[in-house]
């Protein structure tokens, strides 16, 4: 008998489950790391610094407030990258558990990405501090983040369902993901803006699901506007990716224990 199931609410159990698994991911990540979380902040900041110097002083890009322009795009991208990297390896790195215990395997993907989401949230706090210090006026539209962030979370989970299942069979999946992320970085309007592309071609960028997300974040922060058409695109991408990724995962998951 489960030690008194009747007395314990399901809620308490699921809360603990998510807690313990997420805590595990963070602990595994920061074992023997002196600065821990600080590194995950320093990475986008150092990137921003490099890009800022390169594009402001060398290529002389004419974008207002280029530092904030960069930061508002780099942080969501950084989360996308780290979330996918963790998510992709979620099943493989939980092999000992999956081979021995029966539990919903989706959970390790979901909590792995959640750990990275927490980093992103903390980074957003830092970013908002910077924005306010830099004279950006907060707007009601910032509440749109409460929709946008969960949406991006689901998008990352959706892709991770697919790649984590694939990674069980092909360990090189992470390499492919990393290469795709490298290319994806330049195919997302992070360093540049949509209107800097030669006329009529900007729609191509929307083939990349992260384009609408980065644009949304930026417009919310810097212009105080939630662009509904972009939000629509983001929702469609998220739903499609989530459903496909989940189905793919379900199709393969019962073979995980024997292949790992």
């Amino acid at each position: 008998m489960g030690g008194g199931w009747g007395m314990v609410s399901r809620w308490e159990y699921y809360r603990d489950l998510v807690w313990v698994l997420t805590e595990r991911d963070l602990k595994l990540k920061y074992k023997n790391h002196l600065l821990g979380f600080v590194w995950s902040l320093l990475l986008p900041f150092s990137q921003a610094l490099v890009f800022y110097v390169a594009f402001q002083f060398i290529f002389r890009v004419r974008i207002e407030n280029y530092a904030f322009f960069l930061l508002t795009g780099l942080f969501p991208w950084q989360w996308f990258t780290s979330g996918l990297q963790v998510g992709t390896m979620a099943i493989v790195s939980s092999a000992p558990l999956i081979k021995k215990t029966v539990f919903p395997k989706e959970l390790v993907v979901v909590t792995g990405v959640l750990g990275e989401a927490l980093h992103f949230l903390l980074a957003q706090v830092v970013l908002i501090g910077l924005l306010l210090a830099g004279g950006v006026v907060p707007a009601w539209s910032w509440l749109g983040l409460l929709l946008l962030i969960p949406l991006q979370y689901l998008l990352i989970c959706g892709i991770s369902f697919g790649t984590s299942a694939l990674a069980v069979f092909f360990r090189d999946t992470l390499w492919m993901v990393n290469i795709a992320l490298n290319l994806g970085f330049y195919l997302t309007p992070i360093l540049y803006d949509l209107d800097m592309l030669p006329g009529g071609w900007s729609w191509l960028l929307f083939l990349n699901p992260m384009t609408s997300f980065v644009l949304l974040y930026r417009k919310i922060y810097l212009e105080g506007i939630v662009e509904w058409s972009w939000l629509g695109i983001a929702v469609v991408y998220t739903v499609v990716v989530l459903v496909l990724g989940f189905l793919f995962f379900r199709w393969l998951r019962w073979r995980f224990a024997e292949v790992l």
Binding site: E12, P96, K100, W254
Partner: protein, 266 residues
């Protein structure tokens, strides 16, 4: 026959696909297509062939057989971590984690963290685990090491920890795959005593071991597996609840044969 069946394995087949075979041969798709077809056929391996048996409540059931006979595969199917290719496995009750050598722990986490991780995946809340934490650590006798990463544990220490967690999760069914073998003599004795107590409480146990003598001491029945097929099921003693007088083994050596369908009669 009036006994409760807690584990029922009916005509179970298990086929493994050796993906490595297929994957390394991806190159050959271009070069030698016929060879690939052969590889695909060769890459399938029948680990279990039409295995059927039942285990009753409170019984201690042993599985023996040579290396590669399919014992661990069978336990994994009962534990539910794998699915049979054909046939059915029905389990009534709560199963403890599969006790196997070398798995079940995240090597970079400490013993304590692993206890929480295992406990939660078995359906316990943090509060429930916290309550049993001291008992688990004490039973495993790992106090000085419990906050060290499991990576530095010896195989005996890992087995202790796994065993201690498993028996403290209030299981109805325990699956034990050779873990006792790596414990030292004192710990083996302690485990056997604990298992005996659990058995009296009605916990069902399925054991895999190569130690014939030990198996005869603790098991009510032993299934002999050979190349994935049931050879025979040997009754050691009149089943559960009976006082486990270890030395009365093999007095009644009458055997029980399982029915083989004609296609794999051997």
């Amino acid at each position: 026959m009036a006994q409760d069946v807690v584990v029922s394995v009916q005509h179970v087949w298990k086929e493994y696909i050796h993906y490595h075979h297929i994957l390394t041969s991806l190159k050959e798709v271009v070069l030698h297509l016929p060879r690939l077809a052969r590889r695909l056929r060769e890459s399938r391996f029948l680990a279990l062939k039409d295995v059927s048996f039942e285990v009753y409540r409170g019984e201690v059931f042993g599985i023996m057989g040579h290396n590669g006979a399919g014992k661990s595969t069978l336990l994994a199917l009962i534990a539910g971590v794998m699915k049979p290719t054909a046939g059915t496995v029905t389990v009534r009750g709560r199963i403890a984690p599969l006790l196997e050598l070398g798995t079940g722990f995240q090597y970079d986490l400490t013993g304590r963290e692993n206890i929480f991780l295992n406990g939660i995946l078995l359906g316990m809340t943090r509060r429930q685990i916290q309550k049993k934490l001291d008992d688990i650590i004490a039973f495993a006798e790992l106090e000085p090491f419990i906050d060290e990463p499991v990576r530095i544990y010896s195989s005996g220490m890992l087995a202790r920890l796994g065993f201690a967690i498993a028996i403290h999760t209030d299981p109805d069914i325990l699956l034990i795959d050779e873990v006792l073998a790596v414990g030292d003599e004192a710990f083996q004795k302690k485990c056997l005593k604990k298992l005996d107590a659990l058995r009296k409480e009605g916990v069902t146990m399925i054991f895999v071991s190569h130690n014939r003598q030990q198996m005869e001491q603790i098991c009510d029945r032993i299934l002999h597996l050979k190349n994935g097929q049931v050879q025979r099921i040997e009754r050691i003693r009149q089943s559960h609840g009976a006082e486990p007088t270890a030395t009365t083994a093999t007095t009644t050596d009458h055997e029980e044969h399982t029915h083989h369908p004609t296609r794999n009669a051997h």
